[in-house]
Amino acid sequence: MSGDSVWVLGTSMTRFGRYPDLDAVDLAAKVCLEAFADGEVTVHDMDVMAAGTLFQASTSMGQRIQKQIGQTGIPVFNVTNACATGATAIRTVYLSIKAGEASMGLAVGVEQMGKMGLLAGGSKEEANVYEASGRYGAVTSIDGVLGTATMPGVFAQAGMAYAYENDGVGFEQFAKVAYKNHLHSTLNPLAQYQKEFSLEEIMGSPVQSYPNTLLMCCPTGDGAAAAVLVSEERLRSMPKRVQKRAVKIAASVLTSDPWVESGQVQPDVNTLTRNAASRAYEKAGIGPEDLDLVELHDCFATAELIHYDNLGLCERGGAGDFIDSGAPFRDGTTPVNVSGGLISKGHPIGATGVANVFEVTTHLRGEAGDRQIEGARVGLAHVIGLGSSCGVHILEKAS
């Protein structure tokens, strides 16, 4: 252990699901205190805090959490970046430590969505009198007339564009992704759903946006996750048992979407993920073949399949063969989403990017229980928020 790396010291997440009797502050405060206990520190050790939430982004979430866990006067960054919000919170604390302005900090992500159902896509509002408004001078609502902006539809189109460009990708390959993640979730007590479904049940469940059926879409839900990060110098001053459980952040990368021709009508989830992955591999000095597990952003089954390719887990164009070969199953060569993924573990948006880091950290510590990937030493956590923003973190076990 030497150098100026940043480490994950303590971490925690709630089970994802429905918490109608708690609010987002309750959920977040709980995981913050648990993350402190996990790292054997207190709120008084924190130099900085970043709090991520999407739907309550304007509510001073970080300060509201502090009122439950300790108001020490440290700077709070309230962050939002669509589904990459949690990763952005982690990266904010990471940067503060890297900059030398802090030696320890708290990143927390939280969301309370309830049963909000279908995201994006607007509503059907036929105007009484047509009047042009907005950047496109629309005289009425356009969703369902000029294509779809709903999340299942946008990601379906991302998957079908991949199917157009590459052989061996179709409805069944997308369905297999969901089969795998539902199967994986049966071993994760923190998953919102923990139920296995057959491929036939998945392909036969109600179509949301073909090829995504209901069982190929992540649910909405509530949850929170937190991580305490520490500088290497400060970590070295801590007890050996704490150092042993710390996990190194070998790479922390955030990208936005560069211009592509089709980007104005269909968010490009590929280029920024490719860019983030290649930068992360370079920083960590590893390649995708070195990964023992990957938690990637499977908001829909179609998304996971194309990210095999974007993250370099398979050969270019080979994502269909990759799932067909069984490689991303937990007993395969590159286990992907052994937590159950967003599809079954759940996707309380602000929490997701921290929960992925929790998951990888837990495996690298050898503390993942029934779902443990034996001997895991290196893992990758990926999230993407439409708009777009991509976060990639590569974590390494302490040597």
Binding site: L118, G121, G122, S123, K124, E126, A127, N128, V129, Y130, A132, R135, Y136, G137, A138, V139, T140, I142, D143, G144, V145, L146, G147, T148, T150, P152, G153, A156, Q157, A158, M160, A161, A163, Y164, F171, P206, V207, Q208, S209, Y210, P211, N212, W259, E261, S262, G263, Q264, V265, Q266
Partner: protein, 133 residues
């Protein structure tokens, strides 16, 4: 006889005898945009000219949408079309059954306009989609 007023659903649809889509094209690099831009997102130049987008293209991707906001008729086919001059457009496929057996990636399509609604003043809204050829 009074003629019925018509308005396009969006300002980049040009209606008339020969409807087409009009884009703002960057004079520096040729990137096209359907909304107004302060500077080109590709190259940074700030000068644009109107460009007529080809009415012909191929289906690069689609989704058959069965679940949408209340009031939106489903199922429908949302399509990403790459026009012959390389512009990607999103709209619905029209005159095509909304099932995977009738929608083929790479199939040729062309722009089609139709009246999608009428307001209280009797003005018709003209929308566009793409029809298999």
């Amino acid at each position: 006889m009074a003629t019925t007023q018509q308005v396009p659903i969006v300002n980049y649809l040009r209606v008339g005898a020969r409807p087409y889509l009009r884009a703002q094209e960057c004079v520096g690099c040729g990137a096209r945009y359907f909304d107004r831009r302060n500077a080109c997102a590709k190259c940074g130049q700030a000068e644009f000219v109107n460009a007529r987008v080809s009415n012909h293209g191929v289906l690069r991707s689609f989704s058959i949408v069965h679940r949408a906001a209340p009031g939106i008729p489903v199922p429908y086919v949302s399509a990403l079309v790459e026009t012959d001059d390389g512009t990607t457009v999103r709209s619905n496929l029209v005159d095509c059954p909304a099932d995977p057996g009738h929608v083929t990636l790479g199939m040729k399509v062309r722009l089609a306009t139709y009246v999608s609604g009428t307001d209280d003043a009797g003005t018709e809204c003209v929308a566009f989609g793409y029809r298999p050829t």
